[in-house]
């Protein structure tokens, strides 16, 4: 058995200056936070552009609704900071078997849920089974690896995952095994629903904050959980409000009605916020790929020549330099540039209508009007769709734009019949590994769950499987680079840019710790003056 304790995982973690003088944390490898400074008062109102339709941590798996998962629930491990580091959270340490198929996690002792019940290995087992049973949220991540009933509680604080195949990314994804209060859910189960009706509106976690009020039309309000195993969080109350209009979010922030907001807005508004004396717009290099899914299985997109024509019809320079004001960098492949496994020499496609026409002339299937989709509320995806349409018209491809809200879009992505011909969206970081992009977006087994391009290439599948079965990063990197090259040659999707993160906050907010996983929305580190 290979023992991996947390100090090796967080190797290279520099003691944060903020925490250098902080109280020493007793347990080795605990995220080093200045607990002595925690437990202050205040309240933060955060304006969120996406609606919260549920409070079930196993029902969603996106950045728009990440706040309740991150702040009200705990996972076995947690990604923090940038570049992201996998830190122990509910687990103290874990071991991996020689064959890479058995993961044994040792849980921290003395952790309690919000209702005072102790958090045990049984709760972890229940949570894993629940993810597999409700088949939502992070289900596609675990379904190929964990069979229902295979997870065991060895004792009160030891839990064992028995994977069907070795996986180099399993530990990285345990961030998303949010542990729920199994006793509470079992008490509130109705007709074998795994407590879905209850937990979608109520609190059942152990996280830094306790959900006190939830209204899908307004958002949620949560109060600090003083008995959190890391000690109480910095701010007493967090109020995440659903504010659909960009202008309302911006004006509210300027007026001081909100203390923070998400950065899903045109770059022009970010520039406006940067000019305000009362605001801090934090910036960080992120790993968030902006791309367009191309439905690879539907004619005429099933012809590589047509897909290449599409890739040549997007005005990358106009997009990056004019519309986004040079705030992002071109990302030619499937893996974001800063991530290992991204080939540095991948030329990608350029905006070239003549080339687009050249490829178009080689398409066998009859031409038809294609549907290019964007997401309502996400201005950039709508603008990118318009820009592509402009290029398509010049190349002689008829197209129709369709904008729909994210809940509709995410449902259609899971069904190859309903999926749009093209769809502009982001792939955020859910675990800091190239597989988060290359594997989730391109593997055949991820059809109906991540691979919304319905791309399928046996060679890519073989390389991805090999990469998953290989533990060493140095050996995995060239495999992902190869996948990036092949998928670019196949024009599997239109890869556009890697996003930079902007975090607009009022100046009285401090302590924001941005991590690409969770997009800086973990509130426990914050203080408010």
């Amino acid at each position: 058995m290979e023992k991996r304790d947390m100090s090796s995982l967080s190797a290279g973690v520099r003691r944060r200056t903020l925490l250098a003088a902080g109280a020493a944390v007793g347990v080795a490898g605990l995220p080093r936070i200045a607990e002595a400074q925690r437990g202050g008062g205040g309240r933060i109102v955060f304006a969120n552009g996406s609606a919260y339709d549920t409070m079930d941590p196993h029902a969603t798996f996106d950045v728009g609704r990440v706040a309740y998962r991150l702040n009200c629930y705990d996972g076995l491990m947690r990604w923090v900071d940038n570049p992201p580091k996998l830190e122990p959270w509910l687990a103290e340490s874990y071991t991996t078997s020689e064959d890479g198929k058995t993961y044994t996690f040792k849980l921290r002792e003395g952790v309690t849920f919000h209702d005072g019940a102790p958090l045990t290995a049984e709760d972890v087992v229940y949570s894993m089974e629940r993810i597999l049973a409700v088949k939502k949220g992070a289900f596609p991540l675990f379904a190929p690896l964990v069979a229902p009933g295979s997870t065991k509680a060895l004792d009160r604080h030891t839990v064992q995952f028995n994977l069907t195949t070795p996986s180099a990314i399993f530990a990285a994804t345990t961030h998303d095994i949010y542990v729920v209060n199994s006793a509470l859910l079992k008490r509130n189960e109705r007709n074998g629903d795994w407590g879905e009706a209850f937990i979608s509106r109520n609190d059942a976690g152990s996280g830094s904050y306790i959900i006190r009020r939830f209204d899908p039309a307004r958002g949620f309000l949560a109060q600090r959980f003083d008995n959190h195993f890391l000690g109480p969080a910095g701010i007493a109350e967090i109020d995440f409000r659903y504010v659909a209009e960009v202008n309302s979010r911006v004006l509210g922030l300027i007026r001081g009605d909100f203390q923070g907001t998400d950065p899903y807005m045109p770059q022009d508004q970010i520039v406006r916020l940067q000019g305000d004396a009362n605001l801090n717009v934090l910036e960080a290099e992120s790993t968030r790929l902006f791309y367009a899914c191309i439905h690879n299985q539907r004619a005429p997109m099933n012809d590589v020549n047509f897909r290449k024509a599409l890739c040549h019809a997007f005005d990358y320079d106009g997009w990056i330099n004019n519309i986004l004001g040079g705030s992002v960098v071109r990302n030619t492949g499937v893996v974001p540039n800063p991530m290992w496994g991204a080939p540095k020499d991948l030329a990608g496609y350029t905006y070239d209508i003549d080339k687009a026409k050249w490829y178009l002339a080689r398409v066998q299937a009859p031409m038809r009007e294609i549907v290019v989709a964007g997401m309502i509320g996400y201005e950039q995806s709508i603008q990118a769709a318009s820009l592509l349409q402009n290029g398509l018209t010049r190349a002689g491809i008829q197209s129709r734009l369709l904008n729909e809200p994210w809940p509709v879009v995410s449902n259609k992505m899971r069904d190859p019949e309903q999926m749009y011909d093209l769809l502009f969206l982001w792939r955020s970081t859910y675990y800091a590994d190239p597989h988060n992009w290359a594997g989730e977006l391109l593997a055949t087994e991820r059809h109906r769950g991540g691979n919304a391009s319905y791309y399928s290439n046996p060679e890519v599948d073989r390389l991805l499987a090999e990469a998953l079965a290989t533990p060493e990063q140095a050996k995995r990197a060239p495999l992902y680079e190869q996948v990036a090259r092949i998928s670019s040659e196949d024009a599997a999707a239109i890869f556009i840019h890697n996003t930079k993160w902007y975090g607009p906050f009022r100046k009285n907010v401090s302590g924001v710790r941005f991590c690409p996983i969770g997009d800086g929305q973990e509130m426990r580190w914050l203080s408010i003056a």
Binding site: E245, V246, N247, M265, P266, D268, Q269, R272, D315, G318, W319, N322, I323, I376, E379, Q383, S386, L387, Q389, N390, T393, R394, R400, L401, L402, N403
Partner: protein, 283 residues
């Protein structure tokens, strides 16, 4: 008829309304010649996006760098088409329904009117949104949504007018002379109630344009890159208040055309329907 025109010509506000409508109609017809960048309906120039009004782009540019002035002119075509066709269809359905239901009495008449009551029971905009949302965004569906929700207004009006007209001596005389019911309705009753229909139609045009713009604003109108005014305003929200011209000019265009139809409608009502004459006109 000549008297009607003379009276209308004396009313300054009606003439202003008529002038505004004519300006928009001519802008729509002559769009290819009047626009400075006719290609900008489908072509973008990202390098000059969100430029304020200048010598080259008289009303500035939008988020993709297209000329707002040119897009407004082409947008006028869509607005006028939607309003005219929708109202025409609503009139063609509503007037016959109202005539028949008003002329005859009995179960059939009641059924027709209760049918129109069903449509009137739901706020018109809500019903239009529901229909447009179900059918998907396109010009045809907007027209359908507006026609389906507007016809009961004409049915109600014509029904009431027909009912009161039916007992007039000239109608009784026509019936006594042996005219067929269709002849009585179309040649005797309809001309005498036509003034009410004209007034309602003119005022209705303004409302229809506003509703069409609302549907466009909500993303239920014709899809991009169609330069529909309502959607242009919706797009501009994200760039306010920096790009004020982006929302201001399409808003102004909607204001002008709705104002035009309302002023003309009010003027026509004064001339054609003395019972409803404006109190302030003092005539």
């Amino acid at each position: 008829m000549r008297q009607v025109f003379r009276k209308l010509a004396e009313d300054r506000s009606s003439m202003l309304g008529l002038a505004l409508i004519l300006i928009v109609v001519f802008a729509a017809i002559l769009a290819p010649w009047l626009s400075t960048h006719p290609g900008d309906v489908t072509e973008f120039h990202t390098a000059i996006r969100l430029s304020p009004p200048n010598a080259d782009n008289w009303l500035g540019t939008d988020r993709m760098g297209a000329d707002i002035y040119s897009r407004l002119l082409y947008g006028a075509r869509i607005t006028i088409t939607i309003a005219v066709v929708a109202i025409l269809v609503a009139v063609l359905i509503g007037v016959p329904v109202g005539l028949v239901a008003g002329y005859y009495e009995g179960l059939g008449s009641d059924l027709l009117m209760r049918g129109s009551d069903v449509f009137l029971a739901v706020p018109q905009i809500v019903l239009a949104i529901a229909i447009a949302q179900t059918l998907g965004p396109s010009i045809e569906n907007v027209i359908l949504a507006l026609s389906v929700t507007y016809w009961p207004f004409w049915a109600r009006l014509v029904y009431a007018e027909t009912r009161s007209c039916k007992n007039e001596t000239f109608v009784e005389a026509a019936i006594a002379l042996g005219c067929s019911p269709w002849r009585v309705m179309v040649l005797h009753i309809l001309p005498s109630i036509s003034s009410s229909i004209i007034v309602r139609t003119t005022i209705g045009m303004g409302g229809t344009i506003l509703t069409a713009a609302t549907l466009g604003f909500l993303g239920l109108g014709p899809p991009p890159p169609t330069p529909e005014w309502g959607r242009t305003i919706a797009e501009s929200r994200e760039f306010l208040p920096m790009a004020w011209w982006y929302a201001a000019f399409p808003g102004l265009a909607i204001f002008i055309v709705v104002m035009g139809f309302n002023l003309l409608g009010d003027g026509l009502r004064d001339v054609l329907d003395p019972r409803l004459r404006r109190a302030s006109s003092g005539k």
